[in-house]
């Protein structure tokens, strides 16, 4: 990294490492939300760098909705073991036992139970007062004003009018018992920065990001991979599509894009050439105008 001519990546890296160390120094019980995606992979590498030669001084937390791609789960377990990180996997068992699924509930309610509720429960159970997340401000309009330290009340909720001003590098992490803070070390990175860094650092990522022939159906304008165990609806017929995932989420709700990019440099080239935002293929963001803002108020990342 130090020899890269991409000086802006070094500056972003230094800032992110500063944020990671600052939160670890000031919070009693930090945890890292690990979503297995490309942003999480970058955040994890930054954490390794921040505390080198020591180990990462906090556990990783994965909220498993049980609808994730099997390739993600495999990658998660292998990678956590390889780097010697402590991994906590949490699911909303009760909701799953009661049959929560995106087909019956719709994506909004399903996310509410299996992601948001599960996350809030996991944070409360672990007594975590700071949770690192890989969100970036360029992802979605409602995130443009998100702080690096995003303050949540005792019920985990975000109130846009009650956020603290952030000046210089002086983050204010003081909080009362029960309150917590989400910390976003990648706030100032863009999707392109993430890919350039993955390339510069040779960071391992889930193979779903790379193009190959996969079994898929077209559903609601999205390419849904059936090769990853998504069940087919009546009348649907799977066929082979050369495609890749641009953003990883739950298999039934994340669309693939048609692509030939099977290496990181090719992905970067493709990214620069085509002009569609990465969350376009997330079904959840399009349910309702301003839906991300609504979800965030409720405690979603």
């Amino acid at each position: 990294m130090q020899n890269s001519h991409l000086q802006h990546l070094r500056q972003l890296e230094a800032e992110s490492i500063f944020i990671l160390r600052e939160a670890v120094a000031e919070f009693a019980q930090p945890v890292m939300l690990y979503s297995i995606g490309k942003d999480s992979s970058v955040m994890l590498r930054l954490a390794q760098k921040a505390f080198y030669p020591g180990k990462i001084p906090f556990p990783l937390l994965h909220i498993d909705t049980s609808y994730k791609f099997p390739e993600m789960i495999q990658f998660r377990d292998d990678y956590a073991r390889a780097i010697g990180a402590e991994l906590i996997v949490h699911s909303n068992r009760q909701a799953l036992e009661e049959g929560a699924n995106p087909y019956a509930l719709g994506t909004q309610r399903c996310c509410g139970l299996l992601k948001t509720r599960a996350l809030l429960n996991a944070l409360a159970e672990g007594g975590f007062d700071a949770a690192f997340g890989g969100a970036r401000r360029d992802e979605e309009k409602s995130r443009a004003k998100e702080r690096v330290y995003s303050f949540r009340d005792a019920s985990g909720q975000w109130e846009p009018r009650n956020q603290r001003p952030e000046l210089w590098e002086l983050y204010n992490g003081r909080h009362h018992q029960g309150e917590s803070i989400r910390v976003f070390p990648l706030s100032n990175w863009t999707e392109l920065d993430i890919w350039l860094y993955i390339e510069a650092e040779k960071i391992p990522i889930v193979p779903l990001y790379f193009a190959q022939e996969r079994e898929a159906v077209e559903r609601g304008g999205q390419i849904i991979l059936t090769s990853s165990g998504v069940r087919m609806l009546p009348g649907e017929k799977a066929r082979k599509v050369r495609c890749r995932m641009r953003s990883l989420g739950c298999a039934p709700c994340s669309g693939a894009i048609r692509s030939d990019a099977d290496t990181v440099p090719l992905i970067i080239e493709e990214m620069i050439a085509f002009r569609r935002s990465e969350r376009e293929n997330r079904v959840i963001d399009h349910d309702e105008e301003g839906s991300m803002e609504t979800k965030k108020r409720e405690g979603y990342f």
């Binding site: 001519h5 991409l6 230094a14 080198y52 603290r164 590098e169 002086l170 620069i272 002009r275």
Partner: protein, 575 residues
């Protein structure tokens, strides 16, 4: 950069970006700038234009804006909609709070801190400007330099921004008239000179029509300067103090095992090199840098802005909040500081109130002892009679800190000269501060008569306390040294020198002087314990029945208790 790229970013951008990955092209750097404007001068449109013309907006986002059916502009697409974020503010048609936007050209990545121009503008602009190297101030060509524009220029100067750019917008509505532009330009330059802003530039633009934002237009042939984007691409990064004297605040101590002790932090001035002499502050102990550790291997040097970990030649006591500095060029130090304060909170501030002050990695108590004067943001004159500070007020104040604070003046180094004040009750960030200088006690604030214990407590930063050590003479000197190193007021009192009756009298005198009294007691004097405890009060009396055998462990336990007594038991991060 060739002009071809600027003129046709649609085709040139992807090509150059791709090539850059594989070949050694010039460094791609990072520039943070802030934008400020009044409500109707077209700031959202200008930013929308920058993002749109530099291809930072995706097709589906453009479709979403078109689908919304809203178009408040006379252009084919309402560019301001790309940046109006939250639903609440879209409905109201105003933007609240600071929003961060990103775009990139082959030469630079840009971070925009977009600050709204309406009420709370001071708080928002100060926040956005605190991390910016440049400011783009929107001026409506049809209105000229308004009082709001003057405020934006003043705040840029206050926050130490080196490059201030005026984008004279709506030139289309001013008939692209060169005379209109020159009038605004002269006013702007004169006003900037008044506040000593070094680098200024004025550009005539039409954000709506895309003139001189990313591309040169057809309408203003009389203008031969750079476009806004060309200018932003070429501003030097003046925030790098590589050649300045070293300042390295210790952020975190990394100790994976007993053998390794690394000090992690971000270089905020100068360049770290193995072998360089450093002095640790506040202890004053000197050492040398042994190595610079990073995940990517050991480094020969680390310049300003780098986040790295270092080891030292000597084993010295060093922790979060301490500072490593160049011994030949030490920072200033003081407990009484003159600072510019921007009040950010709706709670009013009256002098005499104590806050938590966060400066680099250090948090300590500080009292705003007096308001010297406020700045009238409309006339830029000083107002002396202020007794309180309200939200958006800017004032010069005197602060008294409970610990000596090592700093460089803000205008020399932002990180070393900035602080925030935190309300100790509700934890909100209530003020942003910029240190000007250290100052002695002023005659106006001097009290008369006998010095009271509470005054001593304010100066010492802690109440008097006693540590009762029985048969541990080995600990006393070491503890006294630790107390001294922390800037506390404390001293040993030994029963070897006084009989029990004298000892009580001396202990009382020590207590009245506000000292942390380290009593070293042998078994024979143990009987006066209760009386000594009464002198200091049981909450300020530390007597531990069992202390670890090892000196360093015992010291750590004692210091933890002392910290609880001198500060607040719940606030472990406060010095």
């Amino acid at each position: 950069m060739s002009t071809a790229i600027v003129n046709s970013p649609a085709t040139a951008l992807p090509l150059v970006m791709t090539v850059q990955l594989h070949t050694a092209t010039p460094e791609k750097s990072l520039l943070r700038f802030t934008t400020a404007g009044s409500v109707d001068d077209g700031k959202s449109t200008l930013i929308g234009r920058l993002l749109y013309d530099s291809k930072a907006i995706y097709e589906d986002q453009i479709t979403a804006v078109q689908k919304s059916g809203i178009n408040r502009s006379s252009a084919p697409i309402d560019l301001s909609l790309f940046t109006d974020g939250l639903r609440a503010e879209r409905e109201q048609g105003i933007t609240i709070d600071v929003a961060y936007r990103y775009f990139s050209t082959p030469r630079r990545k840009f971070i925009i801190a977009d600050t709204p121009g309406h009420e709370q503008y001071t708080r928002n602009m100060v926040t956005g400007a605190s991390t910016a190297n440049a400011a783009v101030i929107l001026i409506d060509a049809t209105k000229g330099l308004l009082s709001q524009s003057r405020r934006h220029i003043y705040l840029s100067a206050l926050l130490g921004i080196d490059h201030v750019i005026a984008a004279v917008n709506k030139m289309d509505l001013a008939g692209y008239d060169q005379n209109v532009f020159q009038r605004v330009e002269q006013e702007f330059q004169a006003f900037c000179r008044q506040f000593g802003i070094r680098n200024t530039c004025v550009i005539p633009v039409s954000a709506l029509q895309g003139e001189n934002v990313v591309e040169h237009g057809e309408q203003m042939q009389w203008y031969d300067g750079p476009t806004l984007l060309e200018l932003l691409e070429n501003i030097p990064d003046t925030n790098a103090h590589h050649s300045a004297a070293l300042r390295f605040p210790v952020q975190y101590v990394i100790r994976p095992d007993a053998a390794f002790r690394g000090f992690a932090g971000r270089v905020c001035a100068g360049t770290l090199r193995p072998g360089a002499a450093v002095v640790a502050l506040p202890s004053g102990v000197k050492s040398r840098i042994k190595s610079i550790i990073s995940y990517d291997g050991e480094l020969d040097s680390a310049g300003t802005g780098r986040s790295i970990t270092i080891t030292l030649e000597d084993e010295i006591d060093l922790g979060r909040g301490d500072l490593l500095a160049c011994p030949d060029s030490m920072p200033q130090v003081g407990t009484r500081l003159q600072a510019n304060l921007v009040w950010l909170h709706s709670d009013q501030m009256r002098p005499g109130k104590t806050f938590l002050l966060k400066h680099t990695g250090r948090t300590m108590r500080a009292t705003v002892s007096s308001i010297q004067h406020c700045i009238d943001i409309n006339s830029f004159s000083t107002v002396n009679a202020a007794t309180t500070l309200r939200m958006n007020d800017i004032a010069s104040v005197i602060l008294e800190t409970t610990q000596p604070l090592y700093f460089d003046p803000y205008q020399q180094n932002r990180t070393m000269g900035s602080f925030i004040l935190i309300d100790p009750m509700h934890n909100a960030t209530v003020a942003a501060g910029m240190i000007v200088t250290t100052t002695g006690p002023s005659s106006s604030s001097r009290s008369h008569g006998e010095v009271q214990l509470r005054e001593r407590i304010l100066r010492n930063g802690h109440p008097p306390a006693a540590v009762w050590l029985v048969d541990r003479p080995d600990l006393a000197a070491a503890l006294e040294r630790e107390i001294f190193a922390r800037g506390w007021h404390g001293q040993i009192l030994s029963d070897a020198e006084f009989d029990p009756h004298q000892l009580k009298a001396v202990a009382r005198a020590f207590r009245n002087s506000g000292a942390i009294t380290v009593l070293t007691i042998s078994a024979g004097t143990y009987g006066i314990r209760h009386e000594i405890e009464t002198i200091f009060g049981s909450e300020h009396f530390i007597a531990l029945s069992s202390l670890p055998e090892k000196q360093c462990d015992a010291l750590a336990v004692l210091l933890r208790h002392l910290q609880a007594v001198t500060g607040d038991a719940n606030e472990n991060q406060v010095d």
